[in-house]
Symmetry: C3
Subunit: 209 residues, 3 copies
Amino acid sequence: MLLTLIEFLAVISAGVYGVLLARRLGMDFVGVFSVAFIISFGGGTLRDLFLDRTPLFWIAAPHYPIIIFFLAVVLSLIRYPARFFERLLPIPDALGLGLFSVVGTAYALETPDMSWFNAALFGVVTGTFGGVMGDVVCNRVPSLFRPSTPLYATASFLGSWTYILLTEFHVIESIAATLGLAVVVFTRLAAIKWDIRLPDLRYGTEEID
Amino acid sequence: MLLTLIEFLAVISAGVYGVLLARRLGMDFVGVFSVAFIISFGGGTLRDLFLDRTPLFWIAAPHYPIIIFFLAVVLSLIRYPARFFERLLPIPDALGLGLFSVVGTAYALETPDMSWFNAALFGVVTGTFGGVMGDVVCNRVPSLFRPSTPLYATASFLGSWTYILLTEFHVIESIAATLGLAVVVFTRLAAIKWDIRLPDLRYGTEEID
Amino acid sequence: MLLTLIEFLAVISAGVYGVLLARRLGMDFVGVFSVAFIISFGGGTLRDLFLDRTPLFWIAAPHYPIIIFFLAVVLSLIRYPARFFERLLPIPDALGLGLFSVVGTAYALETPDMSWFNAALFGVVTGTFGGVMGDVVCNRVPSLFRPSTPLYATASFLGSWTYILLTEFHVIESIAATLGLAVVVFTRLAAIKWDIRLPDLRYGTEEID
């Protein structure tokens, strides 16, 4: 029940980000819906393809694409959508990042031969690569890869490891998942509040070519 | 027979678009062939991966990649290819959009748990996402997502729904497919003729951030 | 044994390219690791998805993602990494291109219905499309597609065909693989030494639209 609510909020907030990004770039409804779809479902789709899970989760849960469609319709009718929504987004987005990280890690751990490190990567990919693909399709360097964003993949990575280590040490599944999710949400919101980012690794280009 | 001819024309016209785009951007033959390949086969490849169909259609129909290869060779030798071809393309391209939309929708409907809405999305992805991936790989915002193109994904969506609703109401398969294809072709060619586009959804950026 | 060493050097050199590219673009560690991962494993991942091979090779060989992680950490701590590494890279990179081309082709030939031409494409995709995806995610036109790079996909294509023809004429597998790899390495290094490139196929844009 609570999980369903978090998942619902997470899909909605990813969709809102997608609509705002696509509208800011001057796209039409095809672009708005496509970008919202890619940001909402891209990470989970990559996970399912990489783990050979079938059917894809948005085929198995067909109400989600329809929700994104109507979200895109409604948000396309609003004149100044950003003003209202950008304040509200960080909390559901952080919850969604936490949920998808834990779920992606858990699915990966069900696969034979899965190393802990790869399982953590699956958590991060599930939680964050929808946004990466949305940026790529909008012809932008992914904001996930740039030092301008407060810890995001890092929060997902820490929460995924929390979940992995707790389950490997036989902590009850639901407690491990809750703590993993909490680590993600706490890290992400703390990073936003105190503007914690990874350093820019650019090197002096005048030194080479 | 007629289907094979339409498919052939559709692959050729997608390939021609790819060659022209890559040459316009100053690529070499590797780029020209790759972009033509991606535009011709990208949508169907995504469909097959998402539906877990194996082998991929261009592995099962291995003459198509060879056709695109020789098309790319021939069109790379022509000095001013655009002048000759751009007039001819819209009709085979619209036919191909119609065919691939209907085929993609039909394959999707064979999958258990497939909602009508998702099946229509599979029609659109099959018909249009080769072009989206071609644009992405050429470092352009996909023209499919921008209001500068006359109805394209919209035509595919309408035709896919036509096919879905007719087959669900037990219309004979071949009639449903023909009508679905006709809706796509008519919508697309009408949109080109009367320059019908979806509106630009950009919002005033001076109002936010 | 020798194969394992070549594979190791190839993964390392692809990872180094990825780190240098991401740092040059001013990314943070998330970007550096992601780009290195995509360049190192992207081509093989596409091959595995297209051939429906499961688990993905970097899930079956889980030390590789960890190697790339520590490579990214170490290379992120060096102040001027390019000066030291760019001299060393072409030889391991050419070896890796050769190895991955031959391995990709060999895996493709195991698949039923695989045409020789498609098998050669699988060699090229395995050897080169990690770099293409790395460029795409960094918002650049893939250097593989541009005439500014000495023969790269072409070297892979020639070596893949060498391997295909030799195995089809019943040459012993290990000899066919060695000769295929040698053709790739020789072609690539000769192309670098004598600056051999494919021609720019741009046509006069003033002639059309």
